[in-house]
């Protein structure tokens, strides 16, 4: 049994600092390669819509990076604090919509509008989490779901200039010059890359602070953490507010990449897909969540193209028809992952660390910590 203290000790000991130089070099190389991607016009077969530096490919890559960043923020709540949120799209969507709507107000403009939007998202994140954290366990999940639904309904009906079903785009001349037009897609791509790096670094630091260790203790056993003298509610509120505000920032960048906001990012389906990204990659592992976000978005966008390709159209109807729906493949894939690989892809790809001598209670890194449902006692247990 892991005690909160052992989690804390373990994490301090196995902090990234002690990992090999090789790994750091590999991460640096990956970042440099990603940053240089817009300069290559190599064609990766049918993997991307066009050459790497074409606008279509860069936009797809940017969307993948934004999704990865958003999944990382959800992982702080879901994977690290044990708070399963089915309403993360509320904050992502709110950040996105409020940035666009406020920027379109002529007296504000983009710079002020974006800052104001993030501040508003912070307030909404604080209030939303304060309300939903009144419930624990599954009740929390459902409260987040319901709150997110309020935004989805509001956006669908076009309240507050949100444009209804078609969404809302930046007005003419609202976005700063470098982000306008297809020729400048590379700038949006770099912005998305910068977002991912910033969000990842912030979350990486956050889960390594003392508060971050308390979050993980809460995930393992909320009751025991409370008995140790920590105010569980306050720490959960902190984790939720940080994660949701960062998600709002991701939404703001999304609006720049897409040139506006659309209702597809506020519906329940989007919240669920964020949860799927984290669970797919591996909850409780930040890079796992990022990987899940990249993979999910890629499949979601590219499977449609795949279903039009000659190999698929030649298949019999029984196989071909389901393949036209990316969500069908993703859903089935996800069930298989849950059944056979509950710790996500990170458990396969992760470099398993050998348990230290004398530490028998340490799980291998691959076995991602699973939020302990028993932390919340049964109603009548």
């Amino acid at each position: 049994m892991r005690t909160p203290a052992s989690v804390q000790r373990g994490l301090v000991k196995r902090g990234l600092v002690k990992r090999g130089l090789v790994k750091r070099a590999a991460v640096l190389l990956l970042v440099v390669l990603l940053a240089l991607a817009p300069f290559t016009n190599r064609n990766l077969g049918g993997l991307l819509p066009g050459p790497i530096n074409s606008a279509g490919s860069l936009q797809l890559l940017a969307l993948m990076l934004v999704a990865a960043a958003t999944a990382v923020t959800l992982d702080v709540m879901f994977g690290y604090t044990g708070l399963l949120s089915f309403g993360h799209a509320l904050y992502f969507g709110f950040g996105c919509y409020s940035t666009v709507v406020l920027s379109n107000i002529s007296s504000l403009g983009f710079a002020k509008g974006a800052v104001l939007a993030i501040l508003l998202t912070f307030v909404v994140a604080l209030a939303g989490n304060a309300a939903s954290l009144r419930l624990t366990g599954i009740g929390f999940s459902m409260a987040t779901l319901a709150l997110a639904q309020a935004l989805a309904i509001g956006v669908e009906r076009g309240f507050l200039r949100s444009g209804g079903e078609v969404g809302v785009t930046y007005g003419f001349g609202v976005l700063p010059g470098p982000f306008v037009g297809i020729a400048n897609t590379r700038n949006a791509y770099w912005l998305a890359l910068a977002l991912l790096l910033a969000v990842y670094a912030l979350c990486w630091l956050a889960v390594r602070t003392e508060a971050g260790h308390v979050w993980q203790a809460i995930r393992e056993n909320a009751l025991r953490t409370r008995v140790l003298g920590y105010d569980v509610y306050v720490f959960q509120l902190g984790a939720g507010t940080i994660a949701c505000t960062l998600a709002g920032a991701c939404g703001a960048v999304y609006s720049v990449v897409m040139g506006g906001a659309n209702p597809s990012i506020v519906v329940l389906g989007y919240s669920l897909s964020l949860v799927l990204m984290v669970a797919l990659g591996g909850r409780g592992v930040l890079w796992g969540a990022a990987l899940g976000g990249v993979l999910y978005t890629y499949l979601n966008q590219r499977l449609t193209a795949l279903s039009d390709s000659a190999t698929v159209t030649g298949l019999p109807e029984v196989i071909r028809v389901p393949l036209t729906q990316p969500n069908f493949i993703l859903g089935v894939l996800f069930i298989l992952i849950i059944l056979f690989l509950p710790a996500g892809l990170a458990s396969v790809l992760g470099i398993r660390r050998r348990p230290r001598a004398g530490r028998t209670d340490q799980k291998p890194r691959g076995a991602a910590p699973v939020p302990d449902d028993r932390r919340e006692p049964a109603l009548d247990g």
Partner: protein, 295 residues
């Protein structure tokens, strides 16, 4: 006044639909601690089944309507039965994984419906008597509303009978209290898990059949929209409480319809969320939910 009664009865009908879905989910959660996200998809699949039965006839007979509802109920139950055996049971004791698996299943099923029949709505022809109205206190009430309310009342009565009079009901009630102890006494709890999950699927299926006739059409996304409001009904009523679900469904259906009509379309849906937040602030365990014990 007539308008008010019409809207109020329509709200009750809507509440009846929420109740059908929510009561199954409540039973499942009470016994198995699993929240199923797949039941919305079961509802949609069942609604499509009723459409397949009804579509050939412009004005289907009552028997055909009954057949459609039966087909929807059976299909919903069958889907839930297979799901329980294939996905829920292998993940026994891991509630989070079970929940996530139902999310994946819901996604896949809805996508499959959209792949086969397209994402758009298909019209369902109504039986003649269902299309006409009766006067209640001067208000013309469409018969679909009565159908929904009667169906919900019958389901409520049947569930209560099942729980209070049958041996399985006894096991379920005991399992809600402490399922480990029940299995320790040598009773096969697994079987009642399957039973409850299947009953939940049947109720979702019946809800799908009725919703198709109520709205006059089906789309793959019908169930997902209803699932969200059923979840809200569950929280307001108190997780695991069937009477709570009934009360909450009535309150929700009424207030949603009335506010949508008298204030502005769409505000009623948001008002429901406000009700939820107020419930969370004042009484987090829901109207009739039990307070969680710490140890």
């Amino acid at each position: 006044m007539a308008t008010f009664i019409l809207i109020a009865v329509s709200g009750l009908g809507l509440g009846a639909l929420y109740f059908l879905l929510a009561t199954g989910l409540s039973l499942i959660f009470g016994l198995m601690r699993v929240l199923s996200f797949a039941h919305g998809a079961f509802l949609s699949v069942a609604a499509f089944a009723s459409w397949l039965v009804l579509r050939s006839d412009d004005s289907p007979s009552t028997w055909r309507l009954a057949l459609a509802l039966l087909a929807a109920t059976v299909l919903g139950g069958a889907l839930a039965f297979v799901t329980e055996l294939a996905i829920i049971r292998p993940l026994k004791g891991r509630e989070l994984e079970q929940l996530l698996a139902t999310v994946g299943l819901g996604l896949a099923l809805v996508a499959l419906l959209a792949a086969i029949w397209g994402p758009d709505e298909h019209l369902i022809p109504r039986t003649q008597w269902l299309d006409s109205t009766s006067s209640v206190l001067g208000a013309p009430i469409p018969h679909t509303r009565f159908l929904l309310i009667v169906a919900a009342a019958l389901v409520m009565a049947a569930i209560r009978l099942l729980l209070s009079r049958s041996r399985y009901g006894l096991i379920i009630r005991a399992g809600v209290e402490n399922s480990e102890m029940v299995s320790a006494l040598g009773i096969n709890v697994k079987r009642s898990f399957t039973l409850v999950f299947t009953v939940g699927g049947m109720l979702a299926g019946l809800g799908g059949g009725l919703a198709g006739s109520y709205y006059g059409g089906v789309s793959p996304y019908l169930g997902d929209g209803m699932l969200i409001f059923s979840f809200i009904v569950l929280i307001i009523g108190g997780l695991g409480s069937i009477v709570g679900a009934l009360v909450a469904a009535i309150v929700l259906g009424l207030s949603q319809s009335l506010v949508n009509f008298y204030v502005q379309n769409g505000i009623g849906d948001i008002f429901v969320v406000v009700l939820l937040v107020m419930t969370l602030l004042v009484r987090p365990q829901g109207l009739l939910g039990q307070k969680e014990r710490l140890v």
